[in-house]
Symmetry: C2
Subunit: 390 residues, 2 copies
């Protein structure tokens, strides 16, 4: 679970990301597969769509069994989507991006989506939190997630503390996982709380909601959870879950590590007002520019290490041509960092304005996705599936 | 958790009872207190009642904080009752006796009672069981338990797999218990399933249903579960749970160990028909008699090691005078083992006949105790108590 690159150390676990992540190396260490051009092309064919930037630019870069998911779809067996959110604070831009990837999958493949909001786990992990804290964040986060836009009749958003039926489904899973296995994957020790030792069964439970293949779009640090699921799924008569892994959205302060809600200077929150966004990006965004404007005009900048460019590349500049031109203009010294910052600021502000408007209108949709939509109603009436009874 | 007596070895854990149990020694080893004459007298005063044989004859022999329970009652703070059943098979006479003790407490003190039916735990522990098995036993066992007779508006009987709200309440408890503590109490190891490691939080949850002292009548082998509760309760603003501990109902085959559903020749089931009862007691009941009737007439028998006498003493002969006379008549050789067996058989048959009739009539009462009675309705609408949110 802890990984060290050759020249520069880095570390990726479900709880920590540190250092400059070598994604190719991560694929080797985690034993996942690179998302190849073939698979991306296949996705384009099947969806008959212009691909979203997350795929075009390989922000989603690795997978497990995504090829089988596409095959299942192509041959009519279908699949379903599952992802989640740990509600320990306000959501920032890095948190919301995988939900856009997920929404695209749902729209194009027209499949069910389950979103687990883990207020139980976050409460247990954080000594300083009361249960009310994570429950309150859960609700706040659900509003942000719903604002992304999902099919309200094919999406079920649930908090574990409320949809406690998840416990019933976790029981047969917890019967298949020994302490030894869970410790090997998560590094539990003597002082681990018994709630956290049980937790992998809760997080795996939604992969058993349907007897089709499950596709999980998520950042790659969550991968360990699915290794346990993949170990036991077939013995329960289910599919090993598939996953498609995102990179980490870089913090303002540099392209290493990941944006962290616990370091506000590294993040832009979905609730930040336009002035805050401007001042954070101006103050903290690390660019690849030179020391002076004059020097930059002569030597050019380095977009490879520039957070501003990365943010545009990952999410805020969907136009490929414009992005390429900006890259070249930076390299040649034709533009200065201030111009790029201004451009990013206007893009982020526009995005947050739209997000905020969608969020205001989302209450009836949240109601549907939690309780009254078609899938939500099915899930509240769920009987534990036959195959899970062993 | 494993205990060895001086002359004869014995062992008492939540899963096993072996050997001739030295109950005085168990009190020392477990660190509980003997149920004194003072406490029994106090119970009589407060309930203004003739005491049931379980107290008069000290089948319930040990306690934790039962004195404080009586004080709470006397001073108007009240208390509540909690007990449970692990549904891994049909119930026998040894299983049902603590429920009679519990029913007496409820009737005399007019308090709420929670009965946890642990179909989750039994399913996880038994590799050969499917979930449906323990769920089905849960329902069967609930009918037997309800037939004992409880106040349907003050009793909530729930299966953990169905009343999954128990998971929400277990979360804050599981946050306070480390693997190290749980292992010390229950002896978990590398191959323990993660569901079982979490389970102490589920079993402790009902002790937090009310912010009054909880009294648990149960066999003393269940005591370890309450040690963990007593360690953490006060930090959560709750009372340490109290308990009153029963001895083990002896198997037909001898007064050591305990009646076991997995050894049918040792047990009389609540569903056994009169002929089966007769033949089991005749065939298997170990008495303290001599080799021949003639020898018995001369030397007398030994009621101290006689299972038939024990069963009469614990449950089937409520008349103290009759019991004393039988003891003396055995000692003197005035009666033979066959007479005692016949007497016990008729008593057991009568009890089972009445039980079977009550069980047939119990369906609407089960409905109330599970779903529609006053307490059941409150529990299905339960919000997690303030103090448990930390």
């Amino acid at each position: 679970m802890v990984h060290f690159g050759g020249e520069e150390e880095f570390k990726v676990t479900p709880w920590e990301v540190e250092g400059v992540v070598d994604y190719d190396r991560l694929i080797l260490e985690f034993g996942t597969k690179p998302l190849t051009e073939d698979l991306i092309e296949k996705t384009r064919e099947l969806t008959k769509s212009y691909l979203p930037i997350f795929l075009r630019r390989k922000f989603f870069f690795s997978h497990r069994d995504y090829d089988l998911v596409l095959k299942d779809y192509e041959e009519g067996r279908g699949f379903f989507l599952y992802t989640g959110r740990g509600p320990s604070g306000p959501m920032h831009i890095g948190h919301i991006i995988p939900f856009y990837m997920t929404a695209w999958f749902q729209e194009k493949f027209d499949v069910n989506l389950y979103i687990q909001v883990t207020d139980d786990e976050k409460f247990i992990i954080h000594p300083e939190f009361e249960f009310e804290d994570t429950k309150r964040w859960a609700l706040q986060n659900i509003f942000d997630i719903a604002a992304v836009g999902f099919n309200p009749d094919k999406t079920f958003i649930f908090q574990n503390s409320e949809y406690t039926k998840i416990y019933e489904i976790a029981i047969p899973i917890s019967k298949k996982i020994t302490f030894s296995t869970a410790r090997a994957v998560f590094g539990f020790n003597e002082s681990s709380k018994i709630g956290i030792i049980f937790y992998p069964a809760i997080q795996a439970a939604p992969t058993f909601f349907e007897r089709r293949r499950c596709l999980i779009p998520a950042a790659i640090d969550q991968d360990p959870y699915w290794r346990i699921q993949r170990d036991i799924a077939e013995s329960l008569g289910y599919f090993k879950t598939a996953a498609i892994h995102g990179k980490f959205f870089p913090p303002l302060t540099g392209i290493s590590g990941k944006m962290s809600a616990s370091m506000p200077e590294t993040a832009v929150y979905l609730t930040d007002d336009p002035e805050t966004v401007r001042s954070k990006i101006w103050k903290y965004a690390l660019t690849g520019g030179q020391a002076t404007a004059q020097e930059q005009r002569i030597k050019g900048g380095n977009p490879e290490v520039c957070v501003v460019f990365k943010w545009l590349e990952i999410f805020f500049e969907p136009d490929d041509q414009k992005l390429r031109r900006r890259y070249e203009d930076c390299r040649s010294g034709a533009i200065l960092c201030g111009e790029c910052k201004d451009y990013l600021i206007s893009k982020v502000q526009a995005f947050l304005r739209e997000h905020s408007e969608r969020r205001k209108a989302v209450e009836p949709i949240v109601e549907k996705m939690k309780y009254t939509g078609k899938l939500a109603r099915e899930m509240w009436d769920l009987h534990i599936p036959e195959a899970l009874r062993k």
